[in-house]
Symmetry: C2
Subunit: 503 residues, 2 copies
């Protein structure tokens, strides 16, 4: 089947062109809003064609760079190919590509790390400057020109509205039956014209199934036929299972104490090994009809929907293994009843995270003994991925849970340090920290009480004594007992690692 | 006039007692929720009577300590007297009392520094443990037992609902005509039962004028007759005026660029010299019918209401000089039409800060070259006041502006440092930093771009070169160019100050 059968609008069908021709429409210096969120729904052909063009130009001694705004991370076919030819001047709001990361940390690419819920309002408010072009993957085009979104919604609505010109990729490898799964809300506005967002349950639909698209702005349509680049699912390892175990026990205790309803509260979960272990644990437990109000639907959530553990999941994108995609495609009617894909300014909206009382579970790079969390920086300077949606959910949700193995790099790094080298989530916003060693419940504790809990419950035994020693000497220093620190030693663990490869 | 004429409920009139008798009802170890927000509406007599009792007990070798939850800061008659006799075991969520501060930093008092909007939900959710007693100042009691709130609402609604027992202070020095100024919203709930909060303008009223009070929980009523302890107004100094000037210019530019409407957006303003200078500047400008969605009404806001610059102000408390209180009392009918006092979980609600698009203006202690802000800690360890509502507004508002003189302690401290010694507002949440030197607009900038702006525009000339030198050497270090740092030097400015009294 050719993609053209998915382009039902005659006007747009006439603007069909090759990826190369479309890439040629992107000028040097352009600011381009692309689709794509966590390896789903990114344009499959134009970025690669553009990278080829840039390589050729570079060969002729010409520079060519664009700025790229997306939903979140994409795939090697977008971030990777363009970073490799040094084609990205500035990137926002999230990435996780190894080549991109290298360029950012080499100082050859500017990167702005923004809460994912806020990108769209920044663009609307003019805080980020002008958006020249949008390059958006869709699953199809209706007769009247409206667009069937693909496997991620992200910021597509905003890019289409804000860009001067639009290029559309129509991908026939995206299931045509995604149609109807999306909920695009056209009620957002800039203040003072904002209205309440009338969602009171993750299951609520408040929008439309399609993206509106001003046809006169569309300068090209490209057919593609390529699956999202999804990583295979790796079953949870021992450490992840232990972390999940602590969280599951915690949920039980909270339910018993009346601090959580027995259907819990809407779950938000980052992607990766630990969150998957938590989801598997929930699925094996007594839970029925839970809800998710989250950013991405990963493998574990499909399983939970299937088993009935999860009743409904709201997100902005999929992030599935090839096996899970097959499962989704084979049972798309079942899942369409239970999954809602929203634009990311709604999926991650602080108003909704607060109202629904989300239980936010996200990874961390390091936490300090007082409960400050670093999610983004390696040794204070090098960007890992970005804050993503973790702040949207952690800051405004009901419970913020941060998870990590207690050590990294074969034990040479302690994930619990005297002072984090960068702060993404402040002591005011971090309620629970969990490692395979245990769980530290920081609610209602002062900084020194937190230090005891975190060191005892979360630190790896190999580092526990030294952390306690730091804390005790800091207390004895006479420098101030609210948050005792030794300024000359606070970052010495990081410095030691940089110098000797061992904290 | 005796206060008893303000106690129109016969049942409660029978429970009238002395402050000493009421203080005797508070047991050792109790957790007590007291009224009080920024020096307004705190109980005037019972804390002092309790302090006397504690001093006597201490004299007999007995220990006596309670935990105190409030709205925010109170006054010497509450925090001061009780801290002085070492009567406070744990304090939350905000204080600014010198004796309290000393005890916290000496390690003799635990202090939990919580976003002011979140305290009430924490209490409801059981995150803070049980509340034994509420001690609440009111302006009067209706015949049916409902309470006329006084000059601050704060967390009073929650304390009354959550505490096992209630003691009421009825203060006849609070203007009886405050009646009708308050808007107490009884629609809050814990998730999953939360509903949208239907406020779309600071002027909207959604609640009732009175606090409900379960009479059977009231174990004592005390009459008082004492004004709020308010500090005199000091006219803005030169530095504050220059900071205000930069902000006012910025507003003009934003309006010209179409990024702000000409009525601005609802203003939130901290208290103190700089915010007052900004308010005076706005009042002298072309503005009409602005709105405020803020925490406290300070002198400048009354003036703006009077002149018509401000049309309406929503807050949770007053923080006025004696002169301004007189003005308020003399024209209370005028102000009652234009001021709404709400509970602090509504005045500071993230949902509302985001929807209304608040312009948040708050003070900072230090900012670093990458835009991280410390609002609470002196040299990383010693608590100043607390985060207060600054995070509620800065994180979810439309614009977050942080202000400070460029130096402290006669120039021996630079307010701009290589790395802040504590983070309350992350690089993701800080949009504008202003000192008397200038304004750094950080929107849409990567960390290194921010460093240039902050050093050039905000740092004091005496420190500018050294900051630039740090930044350049960090860039040259090869440690990572996203957020370049020298780990061994990042906190050395603070260390130098601690050792030599000079950064
Ligand atoms: C924090 C985060 C990087 C952890 O990722 P993860 O895949 O769960 O964790 P891993 O343990 O595999 O760590 C990832 C890498 O960081 C390294 N790392 C982890 N902790 C480290 C530390 N304290 N110091 C140095 N490196 C560390 C790991 O060694 C690993 O490196 P490698 O890729 O070279 O092997 C990830 O959760 C993240 O990007 N979070 C921010 C965004 C977010 O929270 N999104 C969710 C909202 S939906
Ligand atoms: C940050 C904050 C302390 C600044 O207070 P301020 O009164 O505007 O500023 P000042 O310049 O007078 O500073 C207050 C004190 O801190 C000291 N100080 C300021 N910057 C300092 C620094 N970088 N290092 C050490 N001390 C510093 C000042 O010297 C002064 O000390 P003093 O009382 O001994 O003279 C205050 O705004 C605050 O508490 N903010 C957090 C809560 C908040 O934002 N509330 C508003 C929400 S409604």
């Amino acid at each position: 089947m050719s993609a053209s059968s998915r382009i039902r609008n005659p006007e747009l069908l006439q603007r069909l062109m090759s990826a190369e021709a479309a890439a040629a429409l992107i000028p040097n210096g352009a600011v381009v809003g692309m689709s794509g969120f966590t390896g789903a729904g990114y344009p499959k052909a134009i970025p690669t064609a553009l990278a080829h063009r840039i390589r050729d130009l570079n060969g002729q001694g010409e520079k060519f760079r664009i700025s790229i705004w997306t939903g979140a991370s994409t795939a090697p076919e977008l971030d990777g190919v363009l970073a490799e030819v040094d084609g990205i001047e500035m990137r926002l709001p999230f990435q996780s590509d190894p080549i991109c990361r290298q360029r950012i940390n080499d100082g050859r690419m500017d990167y702005i790390d923004i809460h994912l819920s806020e990108v769209s309002q920044y663009a609307w408010a003019g805080f980020l400057g002008k958006l020249d072009l949008a390059v958006i993957e869709v699953a199809g085009i209706l007769e009247d020109g409206r667009l069937i979104p693909s496997s991620a919604v992200g910021n597509n609505k905003t890019w289409i509205e804000q860009a001067d010109k639009i290029i559309i990729e129509v991908n026939d490898k995206q299931n045509a039956k995604l149609e109807g799964m999306h909920d695009i809300y056209y009620g957002t506005a800039l203040p003072p014209n904002r209205k309440p967002i009338m969602i009171t349950s993750p299951a609520d639909r408040i929008g439309e199934q399609y993206l509106h698209c001003p046809l006169d702005k569309v300068i090209g349509v490209v057919e593609t036929s390529a699956a999202d680049r999804n990583s295979p699912f790796t079953p949870p390892d021992e450490v992840s299972k232990r972390i999940a175990g602590h969280i599951l026990e915690f949920f039980e205790r909270e339910i018993a104490a009346g601090r959580l309803p027995k259907e819990l509260l809407p779950i938000q979960s980052g992607v990766g090994n630990i969150p998957n272990a938590v989801l598997e644990g929930l699925d094996a437990g007594p839970y029925k009809n839970l809800t998710a109000f989250t950013e991405v639907i990963q493998d574990g959530m499909l399983k939970m929907l299937k088993s009935g553990t999860l009743g409904v999941a709201s997100a902005t994108a999929f992030s599935l293994s090839p096996v899970a995609i097959e499962e989704l495609n084979n049972n798309i009617d079942f899942y369409r009843e239970r999954i809602i894909l929203r634009q990311q300014d709604i999926s991650n909206h602080p108003e909704l995270a607060r109202r629904l009382g989300v239980i936010a579970m996200n990874g961390l790079i390091e936490a300090d003994i007082y409960g400050n969390v670093n999610s983004t920086h390696i040794m204070g300077s090098r960007m890992m991925n970005g804050i993503g949606g973790s702040g949207d959910f952690a800051r405004n949700g009901y419970l913020s849970i941060f998870v990590t193995p207690s050590t990294a790099k074969n034990g040479s790094i302690s994930a619990i340090v005297p002072m984090v080298s960068h702060v993404d989530h402040t002591e005011h916003d971090v309620k629970i920290i969990v490692t395979e060693q245990g769980l530290a419940d920081l609610r209602g504790l002062s900084p020194r009480q937190r230090a005891h809990k975190i060191i005892q419950n979360c630190a790896h035994p190999a580092y526990r004594e030294r952390l306690m020693d730091y804390f005790e000497r800091a207390c004895a220093s006479g420098r101030g007992m609210h948050t005792p620190h030794l300024l000359g030693e606070a970052l010495s663990w990081h410095q030691r690692y940089e110098e000797n490869g061992q904290m």
